[in-house]
Structures are given as C-alpha cells and as structure tokens.
C-alpha cells in the first residue's frame, strides 16, 4: 500500500502562506512529519502560484529532498514545471498526472519516455469522467494499452479511477469499488490510487466516510492512496486493513504500529 502524502499543496492555506513567505523550515517540517507518519511518497503541488509555478516547484523539490529520503510525486499539468522539477529531483519521481485529454496526454508523455518515472493516470478524456463501471474500465484500458505501446509498463502506472462524492451521486462509491475490481482483474500489475477525500464532499463527519471508503477500496484492490498521513485514525485503519487483507506478513507492521502508539486513536 503506497501512501502518497498530500499535505504539501499551496491550495492549503498554511502551505500557500509558507511558500509565499519562503518559510523553508515549516515546509521541511511538514515533509518530515509525513514521512515519519508513514508516507512513502510526498506529493508537491504549487498550482496556485500562478506565473511562477516552474521555479517554485523546483524550489520545493530541492528543499523537501534535503530533509527526507523518499521520492516525490510532482503534481502539475504544466510540462514546463514538471520538467524543471524532474531535473532537480533525486531518484525516481512520480508524475501527477497524465490523462486521456488530448492536450495533456501529448504534453506529459514525452516526460515519461526514456525515464523510469511512475505516473498517476486519471481515467478521463476530453469527453469527461466515467459515469459507469464499463466506461471506467474502458478509459483505464486505453491508458494502460496506450502507455504500454510507448514503453511505459503497467507497474509504473497508478490509475486514478476518479472518486466523486456519494453526497452528489449515491452510485459513485460502489461504482469506484467495482471499477477497481474490474481493472485489477484485467491488468493485475497496474496500480490503483485515488484522492480519497473526494468521496465525502458536502457531507458531515468526512473523516468517517474517508476511512470507511479507504478500507473498502483496499479490499477491492486499490494499492495506493493520496491522503493525509498525519490523520492518525485513518492510518490506524490502514494498518488494520493491511493485516486483514494478508498484506502484512505475521501482522508485523500492525504490531509495530501498536508499540509505537499509532493504533490507539
């Protein structure tokens, strides 16, 4: 279960202010906290810094990798920003994201060719997002097959079937789960990730829905999530779900988490 820490994103108020103020210490602390809490990859997004995104993203990559030894998930639709960030990045980066939207596909693909970067691939095209399982699988297939032809193997691809709120459409939860199952059946080696918290938009006690959804999505075959690793309750559920699903040999991680006080929430 690959945990991508989502906190370094300038659309979050405190991060936006820290980036504007050049508060390196705070940003580095958020990076360290997330890795300590169990994040395997850190997302970096500075899309709100309009006009200065490329240099800001490069700056973020450098300052984060000064203090943590994990790959980063470079989060931007702008190929110029991504290219600068990639050059500054140590190790194998993840790119967030490609999709079947023509313009984006053509802009991002060259960044993947000839590298071993992994990539988040959104299951949508110029016509929009899927409305049923069949459409979701069809979009996923076009991504996996298309990227495969360009030399990007399925195990470098993190498909995002796109989560929408059950508050706006009651079928969106089950549709996601069924789509994940169907994709994993067709492409066992491809990865599945998502932005979890979309599931609960517009509803009360969002964290309760988020963690219930996480557990169910893991059972359906989702093996990554873009999430807040500092949320202790959801992390405890993640440890428990891994143990139940047989992803944690001898429940070693679960037991260690208990010793570290991570399960008492």
């Amino acid at each position: 279960m690959l945990i991508i820490g989502e906190l370094i994103n300038t659309s979050r108020k405190k991060i936006g202010e820290a980036v504007q103020a050049g508060d390196i210490q705070y940003l580095q602390q958020v990076a360290k906290d997330q890795v300590e809490a169990g994040a395997h990859v850190l997302d970096v997004n500075c899309g709100t810094i309009i006009g200065k995104e490329p240099e800001t993203l490069e700056w973020l990559v450098k300052l984060v990798q000064e203090v943590v030894d994990v790959p980063l998930c470079l989060d931007s639709p702008d190929p110029v920003a991504l290219e600068r960030a990639l050059q500054a990045h140590k190790g194998t980066a993840m790119i967030n994201s490609i999709s079947l939207e023509k313009e984006r596909y053509e802009a991002i693909l060259p960044l993947l060719k000839g590298t071993d970067c992994s990539v988040v691939a959104l299951c949508m095209d110029d016509k929009g997002m899927p409305e049923n399982v069949e459409q979701g699988v069809e979009l996923a297939s076009r991504l996996v097959d298309g990227l495969g032809e360009e030399g990007v193997d399925p195990d470098r691809i993190y498909l995002d079937p796109l989560v929408r709120s059950v508050g706006t459409g009651p079928h969106y939860g089950i549709m996601f789960l069924e789509t994940v199952k169907a994709i994993k059946e067709k492409y066992p080696t491809v990865h599945i990730t998502c932005g979890l918290s979309n599931i609960s938009f517009g509803l009360p006690q969002r964290r309760l829905l988020n963690r219930t959804f996480l557990v169910m999505a893991m059972a359906a075959g989702m093996d990554s999530a873009i999430m807040d690793p500092l949320d202790k309750v959801i992390m405890a559920h993640l440890y428990a779900a891994r143990a139940v699903l047989g992803q944690d040999e001898f429940c070693a991680d679960y037991i260690t988490a208990q010793r570290e006080g991570k399960l008492e929430v």
Binding site: S11, I50, S76, D78, G128, M129, G167, F201, G202, L203
Partner: protein
Amino acid sequence: MADFTKISQALIKGDAKTVKELTEKAVAEGIAPGTVIQEGLISGMSVIAERFKKNEIYVPEVLIAARAMHTGLGVLKPLLTESETEAAEVFLIGTVKGDLHDIGKNLVAMMMEGAGFRVVDLGVDVPAEKFVDAIREHKPSIVGLSALLTTTMVAMKDTLEAIKASEFKDKVKVMIGGAPVTQNYADEIGADGYAPDASTAVDVAKQLVGVA
C-alpha cells in the same frame, strides 16, 4: 385557500410529491403561477440557502430540496405568461474551459433558480466564445464562471477578457467562484463579483442587479 407555508415546508423537507400536489391545488384555486413560485418555492429555497450557508444542512439535502423545487416549477413554468417569464433576470452559468467539475456550478444554478432568476446552464468545459455567444442569445444580466482547479482558474481571465472585448462589455456583470478562487483573484482579473459559496452567490447576484 392555498397555503404557501405548506409548500415551502414540503420543499424544505425535499418532499417532491407534496410540493407537486400543493402546487397543482394552488393553480386549480386560480392563484397566479408567479405568486406560487415567489411565495411557495422561492421562499422555501431561501430557507435552504440560509441553512446551507450556516452549515446546518448538507449537499444531498440541498439536492433533494432542489428536486422538489423543480417538480413545482414543472407545474408552474408552462403557465407563466411570456411577460412574466421575461421579467425574471437571466443568470447564465458555466464551468470554464478545461474544467469538468460541476457540483459547485450546479449548486449555484439551483440556488439562483430558487432565488427567482431564470437560469441558463451552459454545462462544463465551456470555451470563452461559447459564453459570448450565449450572452448574445440569452441576454443575461449576470454571468457566473465556475472553476475548481488552480490550473483552470486562469480560463476565467480569458473568458472575462472575451466578454469585455465584446459588445456586451458594459451590459453584463460577471461573477466568479470555485474552491481556488478568492476575492483577490476576482479583483485582479476585473470580475464584478465573487462568492465563496452557493448561498452567498445569491446575495452577490442580487446586489449586482440591484434587487438586494
């Protein structure tokens, strides 16, 4: 005698069936459709808007109230005279080019409709030219632009520029909203209004057309 309070209450509860029945009853009693819309439906939706603003109710509750409102409007709209239809201020809305998010846009559209505007919804991923063409066709007093992404927010600027470059420069007000949008951004690109949520959007729109 028609009981507008009962229509409002049924609408607030999201009870579409009762809203439809009471609306039909009011019409059968000879009450003007415009009055039923104003006193029954709009007054109910204004309660929904207020509660939503205060976080007392949640998105699905707004959606079912809006569904109830639409069943009432379905009965009443065909009965409105042409002059009554044309009297309503037109609110044109769409999610800007490159952006496929529709939840926020739909909420605003519902609230505006619930506040008495005649709403024309252009959908998502709407290019600037399409906005201008739609202004030409529908003659709105206000245009609402929605975006959820920092990356598509910039398309608001393009759309606004296209409107300002058209013959409708001074004839239509433009307001913007969406998660990454701020009052600062609205000022920066020269939008006439900004609203942080769907309920506030109604207040801003009313101010812009001078009916607040």
